[in-house]
Symmetry: C2
Subunit: 130 residues, 2 copies
Amino acid sequence: MTPNLLGDTYRDYIACLNQQDWAKLDYFVDHEVIHNGQPIGLRGYLEMLQGNYREIPDLLFKIELLICDPPRVASRLRFDCAPRGEFLGVAVNGRRVSFAENVFYEFAEAKIVRVWSVIDKAAIEAQLAG
Amino acid sequence: MTPNLLGDTYRDYIACLNQQDWAKLDYFVDHEVIHNGQPIGLRGYLEMLQGNYREIPDLLFKIELLICDPPRVASRLRFDCAPRGEFLGVAVNGRRVSFAENVFYEFAEAKIVRVWSVIDKAAIEAQLAG
């Protein structure tokens, strides 16, 4: 895959998440996907995403930076949302917060096989303390 | 710059940090560098790094993943170290922890002009709680 095609595939994946079009998820995510070292598979990946939407009803993925170097993609995602209760162990309780996720993906045959994600928990804590 | 050349420059930058060769830092970092939205400049950048080494005497930067798409680089850095006291607001107090930093850089004329960094604070907390 060329960098441009990989970037297009990634943008389509993010659109799929924002539409919560779960029937299409296996078009983008491999059945054997590993997330932060855990072999959660497509089913675990779907459960994670559905859990995110339950905890954060107004969740929206916005790509801030995209770096493509096949077979890998790095993306900085921006979230402006109001998690209902605890999020990452922080008692957000419906307050509005803005935070980033810096996340790396490895693709194989146009599907995500590995994810390395870090969410900016310190930024969330700083906003709630402020 | 080609992706390969940018990758080489980045690896040289990390070697410079690991050698604490501060006289060379301005070879890699622009005088007007912006770090996580803060225009800290080369002097602020140097002070940040020197502060890191004071807080974490055995600090070592190890590149786990490197994604180059000029003028941008994304890197997953791995740290295995023992911060002396508090680190990111966590009372580590000399215990050994392993954590990642997912970080993006923008280069201009072979120097770093912007950095977007997220450190995996939740992983540190999980290790200390375990």
